[in-house]
């Protein structure tokens, strides 16, 4: 029977894959894609906690934080949409000024 630990382990694996991609890739677009993988992994963990750990249905009258995991995931999706829009706008601007989206060549703020 699949339970909480299965979803959390899947979330951890996806998060680690996304972390590796976000830190090791040279294309800014791929870095952004890896960040989206990490956000999705976090969402899986939030929804799994919301289903298995907090009191699920019927606890709303006494409101013991039922469904706060799913509500957090809704806000994560909202912020991810804003982040993708602004991030890709920044990538397009960098491409326009430097003719590249290689993050190793964008070193204006290097000390």
């Amino acid at each position: 029977m699949v339970g909480l630990n299965h979803y959390l382990a899947l979330s951890a694996v996806l998060f680690a894959i996304g972390l590796y991609g976000a830190l090791s890739k040279r294309s800014a677009v791929v870095v952004l894609m890896a960040v989206e993988v990490m956000l999705n992994a976090a969402n899986i963990a939030l929804v799994a906690f919301s289903r298995y750990v907090v009191p699920p249905l019927g606890a709303l009258a006494a409101n013991q934080g039922a469904f706060s995991g799913q509500i957090f995931a809704i806000f994560v999706i909202t912020v991810a949409a804003a982040e993708a829009a602004v991030g890709l706008a920044i990538i397009i601007y960098i491409y326009r000024t430097k003719e590249t989206v290689d993050v190793t060549e964008v070193d204006l703020m290097r000390g």
């Binding site: 029977m1 699949v2 630990n5 299965h6 979803y7 899947l10 951890a12 694996v13 996806l14 894959i17 590796y20 991609g21 830190l23 090791s24 890739k25 040279r26 294309s27 677009v29 791929v30 952004l32 890896a34 989206e36 993988v37 999705n40 969402n43 899986i44 929804v47 919301s50 289903r51 298995y52 750990v53 699920p56 249905l57 709303l60 409101n63 039922a66 469904f67 706060s68 799913q70 509500i71 995931a73 809704i74 806000f75 999706i77 909202t78 991810a80 949409a81 804003a82 993708a84 829009a85 602004v86 890709l88 706008a89 397009i92 601007y93 491409y95 590249t100 989206v101 290689d102 190793t104």
Partner: protein, 162 residues
């Protein structure tokens, strides 16, 4: 039982798609794998009876964000076929493996107080919890709409031709 089978199918699909995102050489194919990952995560939300989130995931991620990423790949052409790693890929791999090990140890050594949930749709209950007068999330909801407006204006301001 059916939920378990669905979990294993979509979990395998999600991990394979995530690996393809970072391993495939062609960036365009990496973006298409990312769309498969978004779909698999939406299906996993269905197995967690989070029906509203599953549909929102399909609309926002597989719809809007996927299109944005494909658009960004198309307008930044000369880097399209080089999903390359930087010099630090080996230390990064070790660091990611260590993070994964730490999280897994944390997951499996914690005695979670789980309940046996009912397989019911949750959309109505989410709405009630989100907009509850006393303990709801009305202010964060409004702040989120302001954030989206700021993101729209910011994105337009950044890419507009001077």
């Amino acid at each position: 039982m059916g939920v378990s089978i669905a979990f294993w199918i979509f979990a395998t699909m999600a991990v394979a798609a995530a690996l393809a995102v970072i391993a495939v050489r062609n960036i365009f194919r990496a973006a298409l794998s990312l769309i498969i990952l978004f779909g698999a995560v939406a299906a996993l939300f269905f197995t967690l009876s989070a029906d509203f989130l599953a549909v929102a995931q399909l609309l926002v991620y597989a719809g809007a964000i996927a299109i944005l990423i494909l658009f960004a790949i198309v307008v930044t052409p000369n880097f399209q076929f080089a999903n390359r790693s930087n010099k630090l890929w080996l230390p990064t791999l070790v660091a990611a493996a260590l993070v994964l090990a730490a999280i897994l140890v944390g997951i499996f050594r914690t005695a979670w107080r789980t309940t046996t949930p009912a397989d019911l749709p949750t959309t109505g209950d989410i709405a009630l919890a989100l907009f509850d007068q006393r303990l709801g999330f009305v202010l964060p909801f409004e702040v989120a709409s302001v954030l989206l407006l700021a993101a729209i204006i910011g994105a337009i301001a950044i890419v507009r031709e001077k």
